[in-house]
């Protein structure tokens, strides 16, 4: 089982020792370097991998500067160099931080899918921000005076649990749909992803600070070593996905179900999953059957079966209407295959009509316990 988090003083001493060892720099020098960005009464909070006992000599130091008089907020961090130490500074208005926590709390109370609204796979800035504030080390200033009566760590952890549970659900569905459609590489990639997301959700639920997907395996080797055996069979994808994907996907779905108790079968997930068209529309030129996306300047030639399937979707579910969305339940086998292929091309989105609520996850866990 994982180690418990050290006290703030111990964490600051450990952080100081690490940047001294890696870069010959002190926290005081870091503070001097960013002094010009400071405002009266603000605080400097260190988050990120170095603050969480992860990281290495090439890791950057992630700082948040925020306080009651801070007014500007930037989409991209200000990058500073102190010798070999790279410092990323996020200067944020305190109101923006409060607003982000308010939004997170509201999202956790509802059952709408997060849809990556606090950070998707590409950009996890808000998820990381929530954790930097809740779990970071205040190295200067008195710390943020945030609204009382809220468990900031629980909210930050809850959003990551929820986000990763929803990602796990999506990956599990895509793995199975891709398998059915004969897309074996997509199937095994998503199956492994689902297991990793299940494990990331489990780790977040233990209130270990979030630092992104890349540290998962280091955490399985240290703070969450009891979970490592779950991951072991999925560390590498099969050498021959065509042959081994069915077994690999089945085992991954079973591992996710064991971890979180959710039924992740296609039949269970289909009612809350929909395909969403971008701007795809069929076109006929002579005997050619084309599918066109004007927005992306993309065009595909359909074979007869594909053209018939698309026509059926247009007739049955209005697939070419503005913002057209149709449930996976409305798709037969041929339609599912065509839709997953179009999703793989980036021209059909996967949309969820409901989220995976924390209440649902806790209820499942308590019933199983």
């Amino acid at each position: 089982m994982g180690k418990t988090m050290a006290t703030d003083t111990e964490r600051q001493e450990e952080l100081e020792a690490r940047i001294q060892k890696y870069h010959g720099a002190s926290i005081g020098q870091v503070l001097d370097e960013i002094q010009y960005l400071r405002d009266a009464g603000d605080s400097v909070i260190v988050g990120g991998s170095l603050a969480y006992g992860l990281g290495n000599h090439l890791s950057d130091l992630d700082l948040v500067i925020a306080g009651p008089t801070t007014v500007e907020s930037s989409r991209v961090p200000v990058e500073q160099f102190l010798g070999s130490l790279r410092i990323d500074v996020w200067k944020l208005a305190q109101g923006l931080i409060e607003e982000t926590f308010n939004r997170a709390e509201e999202a956790l109370a509802g059952d709408q899918a997060l849809h990556g609204s606090f950070g998707n796979v590409d950009h996890e800035n808000e998820l990381k921000l929530l954790h930097r504030i809740a779990f970071g080390i205040v190295v200067d200033g008195g710390g943020l005076e945030l609204a009382p009566g809220r468990d900031y760590r629980r909210v930050a952890a809850g959003v990551v649990v929820r986000e990763y549970a929803e990602r796990m659900r999506a990956s599990a569905l895509l793995a199975q749909l891709a398998l059915r459609a004969g897309r074996s590489i997509a199937a095994v990639v998503n199956a492994r992803q689902a297991v990793e997301e299940a494990l990331n959700a489990t780790i977040a639920n233990r209130e270990l600070p979030f630092s992104g997907d890349k540290w998962l395996r280091e955490r399985l080797a240290t703070e969450a070593s009891d979970l490592a055996p779950i991951y072991e069979p999925f560390r590498q994808l099969p050498e021959d996905p065509q042959r081994e994907a069915p077994r690999f996907v089945d085992e991954a779905i079973a591992a996710c179900r064991d971890a979180w108790g959710l039924d992740l079968g296609i039949e269970a997930l289909a009612p809350s999953a929909s395909w969403r068209n971008t701007d795809l529309q069929a076109a006929e030129i002579g005997e050619d059957r084309l599918l066109l996306s004007a927005q992306f300047g993309a065009l595909w030639h359909l074979d007869e079966e594909e053209a018939t399937t698309w026509s059926r979707l247009v007739a049955d579910v209005g697939a070419e209407g503005p913002q057209a969305t149709w449930s996976l339940e409305d798709c037969d086998e041929a339609a599912l295959t065509l839709c997953i292929r179009l999703h793989e091309r980036g021209v059909l989105g996967l949309h969820w009509t409901r989220g995976v609520s924390i209440g649902e996850l806790e209820m499942i866990k308590s019933v199983r316990a």
């Binding site: 930037s74 989409r75 895509l174 998962l216 395996r217 590498q236 993309a298 996967l350």
Partner: protein, 166 residues
Amino acid sequence: MRASEVDARRYAWCRSQALWVIGMPAHTFLEDVHGAKEADQDGLLRYAARMIGEACAVALNLALNYERPVPSPAMRSSWALEQLQGHELWQPCWDLIRGAEVDSAQEIVERCDRLIAEVHAILGEIPNILTPEGYYPAIGMARDWIKLMETVGEESPLPLEWMQSS
């Protein structure tokens, strides 16, 4: 004078995606690979190597096949690998994406270095924004791409804040 293989909008969109959205994170992951090797962080090493495999496959598909749009992260690997079948870099990309466990840490680092060098030879070099010497040249180059994107009427994948003078 040599004409672009595709129209200006597609060229600008695909190349800028390849270089900046996909290519730039590859620098970060390469740094992670080297940092992880030296710190004996095997899990980080293998994760970063996998992401390099994916980033390179996607960047190659954009640069060689001018495919657009780029699908969601869940589907990028399979999308890119399908279009790259028969290319000499298909196997190196797939080996890293797969996360083959038989290699030593040193061998993985070498594979990553080699693949990124080969992809850069196709795509062109971009300054490493993660280094003091590469930071401002990278921002300068980003501005050039943003201008090109605006000129051809495409949305820039880069933060427009980079257009502001510092």
